[in-house]
């Protein structure tokens, strides 16, 4: 199915491995963060890394459909992070 060359496939595999490690780092911050704002920051980092991982999967399978999933993650991740940050600031999301 994929028509890409071995160089690109190896680099994509290495990039996906590094992005999974990056998601693990963000997960460590979510689990271990001393305050609530640290956990929200970890969630923010986690969704950006996951979106980049889905873009790399789209490159690996040479399919343009992964782009829409990445777009949705970017949009809803922003909504979620902003709602949580607003909740930390005021104690309610919509006032």
């Amino acid at each position: 199915m994929t028509l890409t060359s071995p160089i690109l496939l190896w680099c994509l595999a290495a990039g996906q491995f590094m992005l999974v490690l990056a998601m693990g780092c963000a997960l460590v911050r979510i689990v271990r963060g001393p305050a609530a704002q640290d956990r929200v920051m970890g969630m923010d980092c986690l969704y950006v890394n996951g979106m980049l991982l889905i873009l790399l999967l789209g490159l690996q399978h040479a399919s343009a459909f992964y782009f829409e999933a990445a777009m949705l993650i970017a949009l809803f991740g922003f909504v979620g992070s902003t709602a949580m940050a607003k909740f930390l600031l005021r104690g309610e999301v919509i006032e």
Partner: protein
């Protein structure tokens, strides 16, 4: 259809560089000590890492399909628009919570004299 060699090398370099920068930024999230140091690290992910990988996507699909594929730049547009908003909200929330906790780890607010009930009064001021 296969890509030319220069395109494969360029896309590979962009992918490797972008994911390495994302890894460095996320690793800084773990190793830096206080929240106000840590908030700098994930910006590396959402600027350089995101730009490199979306540029690799644009190059790959443009060269493979034979026509210009600029959809992935929408992601850079949205992330570049939304990350500063989230970061500013989070920064203000962290400052507010640190001041409310009374631990004296952050300096008091410039505009409010006691620094604790500042969240309404500083709105709209730099």
């Amino acid at each position: 259809m296969n890509l030319p060699l220069w395109a494969e090398l360029l896309i590979s370099a962009l992918v490797l560089g972008g994911s390495l920068l994302a890894l460095v930024g996320s690793f800084g999230l773990v190793t830096l000590r206080s929240f106000f140091q840590r908030i700098h690290a994930p910006t590396l992910v959402s600027t350089m890492g995101m730009w490199s990988i979306t540029l690799a996507t644009v190059l790959f699909f443009s060269l493979q399909g034979g026509q210009l594929y600029l959809h992935a730049l929408l992601i850079t547009f949205f992330i570049a628009l939304t990350t500063p908003i989230t970061t500013i909200f989070l920064m203000r929330a962290a400052l507010f919570r640190e001041r409310m906790s009374g631990r004296n780890t952050v300096p008091p607010s410039v505009s409010a004299p006691h620094g604790t009930q500042n969240s309404d009064k500083t709105k709209g001021k730099p």
